[in-house]
Symmetry: C2
Subunit: 474 residues, 2 copies
């Protein structure tokens, strides 16, 4: 690390720790050079770096200020209007294209939801796992308990206190990522041809699970700030035989909203009235920008009707394939599905993660990632507002590292992605997030990486391709 980077890093840490608040004036260049015992030009370079990274802004003739990060995008997407009829999910080909797209280093990946895997705060986890491999002996090679490793389930129960949940370790079953949690939950509460209500847009992995299990999706209008419309859901439930609700109410993928607490409670009351279960995907919950994180729907559930699904794939690393589910009253059905589908969860990473949490490494890592993604969000929104066509609507994520963008004109983002790929940038086309082929003019972009010239250029490339397609239309 160069000297000016060290100085910038020190300021960054103080902003993260709220020592310097949003909008506050920062020390002058002279003061900075004195405090850190560096030259004036080094202090200048440090501020320039922080400006590039979106931490600070300079105001002419006044100095440097912490960026005010509460500024929402100029225009949010509208309430979504999906086809409100139960339908078979399609789009598998498009999802497959996304999953199998080239991942070479020369492509800027804005498409898949992969967290920061180069963070120094992950190193202790790797060391713990390395040691376990070396010294763990035969037990680390054997099947784990069907429910998962005791030590990990204990730590998950402790972590979930932040979300308002009082879970016993035996309420929890570990899984092969959140995906197994979701599909085992779906299978546990439905039969073939059943109707499942979902928020819309919705995570394509959930939609594909609905498809593969022979179920039908009923997409419900969803607000970009408050989530699934309870009113629309109630109307749909009067009209259709909904057997389960599958939603991501906290730091939603792809929209980024967190449902207000009252909405979460109203949703739970509604399902209680109709006696149906909620499958709550909480995978981004720990990456909420507020601390403590928002409560889960599960935290209000006294009837065991919520199947809370989560994973360490977004908070730590997806390649570990460690997720979990707290299935409430459906524990036996989920355990059966878990057994027949994967038999048990990999042993070593369960023990590794448990130890990492116990040592405080998880909390440290999450704190860093929250601050990082929060800051990246604002820079990313700024870029999209700057480079994309006027009238572009942008989500305002409250956690995680995903941005939803709706273009003002009717251009197809599947084709857009083909064009951007040729320029070395991948995006996730909006159509993946709908059962009925909606959102063709939308896209999801991740802002995992620290803002950099490379990423700003990637956004510029996408904007250029959009411009091309728009001018071809007219």
């Amino acid at each position: 690390m160069k000297l000016y980077e060290k100085v910038a890093h020190a300021i960054e840490e103080r902003i993260e720790q709220s020592f310097y608040q949003a909008g506050e004036k920062l020390p002058s260049i002279r003061a900075l050079s004195l405090t850190h015992e560096v030259s004036i030009s080094t202090a200048q370079e440090a501020y320039r770096l922080l400006e590039d990274q979106g931490w600070v802004e300079s105001r002419p003739k006044s100095g440097f200020y912490v960026v005010n990060r509460q500024k929402a995008p100029q225009q949010l997407p509208d309430l979504s209007r999906p086809t409100q009829t139960p339908i078979e999910v399609s789009q598998w080909e498009e999802v497959l294209n996304l999953l199998c797209a080239s991942t070479t280093a020369d492509i800027v990946q804005l498409s898949r939801a992969i967290p920061d895997l180069e963070a120094p705060t992950l190193k202790p986890l790797m060391r713990i796992m390395s040691d376990l491999n070396k010294h763990g002996g035969g037990s680390i090679l054997s099947y784990e308990d069907l429910r998962g490793a005791d030590c990990l389930r204990l730590q998950i129960a402790r972590l979930m206190v932040d979300s308002g949940c009082r879970l016993h370790p035996d309420d929890i079953i570990t899984t092969a990522g959140c995906q197994e949690a979701l599909s085992a939950s779906l299978r546990a509460v439905t039969q073939q041809d059943d109707v499942v209500a979902v928020d819309s847009p919705s995570f394509y992995g959930s939609l594909q699970a609905i498809k593969a299990l022979g179920l039908k999706a009923l997409e419900i209008p969803t607000h970009p700030e408050t989530g699934i419309s309870i009113e629309a859901l109630e109307l749909a439930m009067e009209q259709w035989p909904v057997k389960a609700i599958l939603i991501t109410p906290t730091c939603n993928n792809p929209l980024g909203y967190t449902m207000p607490v009252e909405h979460k409670q109203r949703l739970l009351e509604l399902t209680s009235r109709y006696d149906i279960p909620i499958i709550e995907d909480d995978i981004y919950g720990d990456l909420s920008y507020t601390s403590p994180r928002p409560p889960s729907i599960k935290s209000f559930d006294t009837e065991g009707r919520v199947l809370l699904c989560s994973s360490f794939s977004k908070s730590l690393a997806p390649g570990l394939r460690i997720g979990w589910v707290a299935p409430g009253r459906y524990v036996n059905q989920v355990m059966h599905m878990k057994y027949v589908v994967t038999a048990s969860t990999p042993t070593l990473p369960q023990h590794g993660i448990a130890e990492f949490i116990a040592q405080g490494g998880y909390e440290r890592h999450i704190r860093k990632m929250r601050a990082k993604y929060h800051q990246s969000r604002d820079v990313m929104i700024g870029w999209v507002e700057k480079y994309f066509p006027k009238g572009t609507k942008i989500s305002y994520p409250q956690g995680g590292f995903l941005l939803w963008v709706e273009l003002p004109t009717d251009i197809d983002t599947v084709e857009l992605n083909q064009r951007t790929m040729k320029r070395g940038v991948s995006i996730a086309p909006g159509v993946l997030f709908s059962a009925s082929g909606k959102y063709r003019n939308c896209m999801r972009l991740n802002f995992t990486d620290k803002p950099s010239e490379k990423n700003e250029n990637a956004i510029k490339q996408v904007a250029t391709c959009i411009q091309e397609m728009v001018s071809e239309l007219t």
Copy 2:
């Protein structure tokens, strides 16, 4: 290692390498003491240890001989006679009991099919994985390719040449153990309420997958030496709308047989005539006592109708959760199921295993394990013949580490297991291996461990409990 153990080990190695053949006379005690430069009593102790472990036998006034390992049990089980009607599988409670049974160190586990995890030949694998954790960087933490790691699929394709299969790496999808391979295959080729024909007795994990996916099992009479009866299967297929066949034709679990090559071919012809797929569970195939291993049904398949399922859970270690499937013409359906159920297979162990195979570690380990299990089999058969009631029927495994035992009297092995557990021994009750509650007087025992006094005592304890139950009956 003590001196006499070293000497015994040297002899053992030479028997493994067929330097000393079955039935051959071994050097005298005096000769042994001279060759190895040890005392007479050390040489005597070495032979005594080898005798205890079942490698050698002493013939009075003649000397020590390599045990003749071709001796089959006195009485094999009869051709099975299951209920030949499609039925819903039950027995989940019993399976759950087995899976959740205490695994403390003071219990001799003869119940679950766990391989030797303390083998020194596994150490290089652990070292490779330890290094990957330390130096692998971010890529080892990310999602792997949906099909699995290229490097591992290449190695699997190479290994499978021994089974007569010419697979391209892209024909292979890695999975969370063989269990995911089996359930994804089942789901890919069936719809709810479909009928699946199975060998009988049959692996309980397959039966439970049939149950959980809403399918019906049709159990087909099965011979303890040649496997599923082709004639009975043909009759059943004329009578019932069979949609798939799920069998373990090589080193069967629980019976241990390997279907003769002609039977494998005839089975394939039959399914070709009816145009239905075969799900071939080959998880124990590499642990066949013959070298090269027997051909798989897949090796004769020119129509892509066989879904070959396997795993490193029995050949290396189950806690890694790395299996694979070569789904033939069903590759798209299986890939979809794989995606919605686990999204991707853990990254690090895939790379670790690939490197282990590439370095020759896998072949070395398998060679050791084959010899070890082969030898344990004969000792185990000897003990069961010695201690169990007259008329007990015993399987004659051709690979793997599992023995099937049929008691002459009608005692319930679920109750037997409850009694043996109190004496610190677990067995797998036969009823788990049937959809229709057959095999109540049968049990499966593993012989993973090196023969020892502890294990001989465990068999004696089981025999004592049987005796108790028999005398209570009369």
